[in-house]
Symmetry: C2
Subunit: 571 residues, 2 copies
């Protein structure tokens, strides 16, 4: 093992090219500037004081830059992670209280440890078990929940925390007479401003500009004092202090389900963003297990400096890349921007209206609602559409953790369902040729009464042996006397296990008793080997195994063996 496979930053450090610096600097500054308002906004979403969003945007970024394999992934506080934190910790403590903050930091440590362990034990493949429709449905629902959770800040009214959109809406309608129109005006202006600037150029720090005007407006017009527009207020100055996170048994047990969810979702989100960006560059590689380790270390390290759970963010990564980031140095520069802000600029955010933070969040999650994918699946794959819709509804109706859980179970169920009922085709001959095709796909095929030709399009193993046995049973039932042989074309049977071999033995025996022969056609290497090892080949008789269907048919018809131009096929 090379040292650079543990510390991927060494790769770009030792070959650092001067012309990368401009890109890294520009990207690092842009993302850093973007992070100031986003960090505060996401902290608010997570139920934490704004300063904690800035803390989460320092140490983790530096650690990820050193250990991460992606050179553009922008790690830090993100909407999804903040929502999950709010959901999980919100069940254990009152949001914003000291206990709540401590739990959120412990959660970061737990998530980090889980990810680190998963990485060390090379469990990165776990991410395979979330299908695209499930991710899409989950993300869209989470985005809606996040968006609606900000309604209270946008309207300037009190709405108790809820994960149910309809409850939030009812509350909002009920309290429509309490709407603070100054707040609403500030918030909607913020949304409009950010959207317009985004349309002009994604790299414009629209949210910072909105923050700037928001502060200016509130300060100049005295919106806070005169109209009750809620502001962020005093943010403490100074670097994130070192402190050991709480780590008592009771908190650990209570936080475990949330930690598992955040670890899993965080990794999934980060790795998919990292891979998408890597595909554009191709001058480095993404290693899923090293990503887990890097995210894990970032979380653990961060938790000692007051950081709540972090992950890779979609929008900031895109901006980072677009602004020219070439290496992890960009991330370190972004962290530097936040550190400077913490040291010198926090007093300037005193008048920052919460409605502006809400508008930043709402615009950010708007892009996560993926109607296009749902439409596309509706047209192209109804089963996948049903998975998307179920996950979407489960997330909305139950809660985000159960939503993703149901999504994973659905995905696994689908794996299993698909393999238990594989495709099985009855083949017929193309008249006048030695070629056999699926009778459901080709018209005018010759099908003989005395020979049944089946193609089993899957590995034969314990989960589908019953299907296999039942199908053959069904198709041969009552055909004793008439049927001479069953031919199983096995060229798409990719594998077989001991249950599969048992099933073949039973089928062969059951057919033999009824005077029907069993021929196996075109066995693949792994299947041929397994049948040899188990002794089945010898039991069935090598004379009942053929390379091509036409050879078996010729033998049954007692015709001389085939010789053809493609004799070499027999090798």
């Amino acid at each position: 093992m090379k040292l650079s496979s543990w510390i991927p930053a060494l790769d770009w450090m030792k070959d650092y090219r001067k012309d990368w610096l401009k890109g890294d600097l520009s990207a690092g500054l842009t993302v850093g500037v973007m992070l100031i308002p986003q960090g505060m906004a996401y902290a608010m979403l997570a139920g934490m004081p704004p300063i904690y969003g800035l803390y989460a945007a320092t140490v983790p970024l530096i650690i990820y830059a050193i250990f991460g394999t992606s050179r553009q992934l922008a790690v830090g506080p993100v909407a999804m992670g903040s929502l999950l934190t709010a959901t999980g910790v919100g069940m254990l403590a009152e949001s914003g209280t000291e206990a709540y903050i401590q739990l959120a930091i412990t959660l970061a440590l737990m998530v980090g440890l889980l990810q680190l362990l998963l990485g060390i034990f090379r469990m990165g493949f776990l991410v395979n078990f979330l299908s695209h429709p499930v991710i899409s449905g989950f993300t869209s629902a989470a985005a809606l929940i996040i968006g609606f959770s900000q309604l209270k800040h946008l309207l300037g009214i009190e709405i108790p925390r809820s994960h149910h959109i309809h409850e939030i809406l009812f509350q909002a309608i009920e309290k429509a007479d309490q709407i603070n129109y100054a707040t609403l005006a500030v918030g909607t202006s913020g949304i409009a401003l950010i959207l317009i600037l985004k349309r002009i150029n994604r790299s414009i720090p629209g949210s910072l500009i909105a923050v700037f005007f928001g502060i200016l407006l509130v300060w100049l017009l005295g919106l806070s004092e005169r109209y009750g527009v809620k502001i962020v207020g005093k943010i403490p100055e100074g670097l994130p202090p070192f402190s050991v996170p709480n780590f008592d048994g009771a908190s650990l047990r209570a936080l475990m389900p949330t930690a598992l969810t955040v670890a899993f979702v965080g990794f999934m989100e980060s790795i998919s963003i990292a891979k998408a960006i890597q595909a554009k560059h191709r001058d480095y590689k993404i290693d899923a297990n090293q990503e887990l380790i890097a995210l894990g270390l970032a979380g653990i390290g961060g938790s000692f400096f007051k950081s709540y759970p972090v992950m890779g963010g979609f929008a900031r990564t895109a901006v980072n890349d677009q602004a020219g980031a070439k290496t992890g140095l960009a991330g370190i520069i972004s962290a530097g921007v936040i550190l400077l802000t913490l040291l010198f600029f926090t007093p300037y955010f005193y008048y920052l209206p919460k409605a502006i933070l809400a508008s930043i969040i709402m615009v950010a999650v708007l892009g996560l609602i993926d109607i296009q994918e749902a439409k596309h699946l509706w047209k192209s794959d109804r089963r996948d559409f049903a998975m998307l819709l179920t996950t979407f509804l489960a997330t909305l109706i139950l809660n985000v953790e159960q939503g993703i859980g149901i999504g994973v179970l659905l995905s696994l169920g689908m794996v299993i369902y698909r393999t238990t009922r594989p495709h099985l085709a009855i083949l017929g001959r193309i008249p006048g040729t030695p070629f056999y095709r699926n009778i459901d796909r080709f018209a005018d095929l010759e099908v003989r009464d005395d020979i049944l030709i089946l193609r089993f399009d899957a590995q034969l193993y314990f989960a589908n042996v019953n299907f296999f046995r039942n199908k053959i049973e069904e198709l041969t039932e009552g055909k004793e006397g008439q049927l001479k042989a069953v031919l199983i074309s096995a060229d798409s049977m990719n594998n077989i296990d001991s249950s599969g071999i048992h099933a073949l033995e039973e089928v062969a025996e059951s057919l033999r008793k009824r005077g029907i022969r069993l021929y196996l056609i075109g066995l693949k290497g792994p299947v041929r080997d397994a049948l040899e090892r188990s002794g089945f080949t010898q039991k069935l008789g090598k004379e009942n195994i053929f390379l091509r269907i036409q050879d078996a048919v010729h033998q049954l018809d007692q015709l001389p063996p085939l010789r053809e131009v493609d004799e070499v096929y027999y090798r």
Copy 2:
């Protein structure tokens, strides 16, 4: 739906042939006589007074005969069900007490309800998720546990109930000085007698003969009074009384895990025996869902007549068949034998030594320990051997419920593992021919530097798209300029989902950017349809989809299209 699909007994009732009666009568009497000692023995194993084994051998048999699809399956108290009852209920109450008995009967009701529900919702396919090695490992371990649990009765010493063989052995050795040699002599003689009679002819009711001689010996020699040989004692006379099982929330919750296990294991055991016997006869059909319904109704009905959980038994079914059972009438006759015994003969079992019951159980479970299968798998399939061994050890070391749970998880894990890392072959040309084969399987194949030909031997779906992408990435990396095209031979790609199509799109895009073309070869019907529907075919261009590898290679080499004798293949 025909009435006879709900009540399969109607099928044999309406066509009942006179010559069946002799077989049914003889089988029914033989099994009934076998059931007397077995019922009492299994009740003892389940921690119940012996009479409850006889109760369990009445009503459930009659109900199964009416609703079951198997005509030979002998339902009733069996070793596995009794062990699971003892394990599950033993955690909640002192065995043999009234509370214990009530819980065991409630368990029967719960198991019945679960099976009935599973049957109504057509979940019979669930049995697919136990692979043969897992069942074998579990059964062998459970048989060992059952066998050792009887050691105390055989040695006539007190050993506290334990599921750990080593604990039982330690206790037995520690108390070796307390061994009751009269008891041991009776028990070992019983074992020897049953084994010898079994070897002569399986249909001899060996256990009843052992019971007869056991009672005679104890009575004549006064073994109970003089040497302290433990006897069954007074068994109440009379039919099983009707009584509504307890059904309170607390018991339900506490029993649920056991009920799920018994429902699942009972169904699995019953259906596999039923199918094995059906394969011999073929004059009726087994329907998995109807079997669930029949077992469910048998359990529910039984629980109202003091029955604990029942299932299909291996040995009794074999005897039933061998003695000539042709229909469910045999089962009804067996139940009649037990009812008569309950009415008139229970006093005669007063002197029955418990050591004889232990010997009956020990012989019964001896046949369940399957060393042959383990040996066979060791030789033919190491992965399946590992599954067998793990389930075996988990069952022995943990307990039976966790053992089967781990087995199911292992099986599911294997399903998933197998599908996430499918077989992928690089193909080369057989020199001088247009045929392409796996370069790992065939020697001397031609492999070109400018064309990479891959065969993906699995459906392409979310669980293996990462594997697919990574492999192609790996194989094409650094080959820009040199590599002209990647050909994916998809004739064993049986299906594709939306994640698979996304992956194909990404791969095509990534290759395109590097000046490498992607060709798809030999797409199957379902895959072709899915690609059409999603618009991928149009995006890739129909000119990049071929039916055979040689066609794509010819096009790349700008040779004229192939025309051959098997031109019809192109259809």
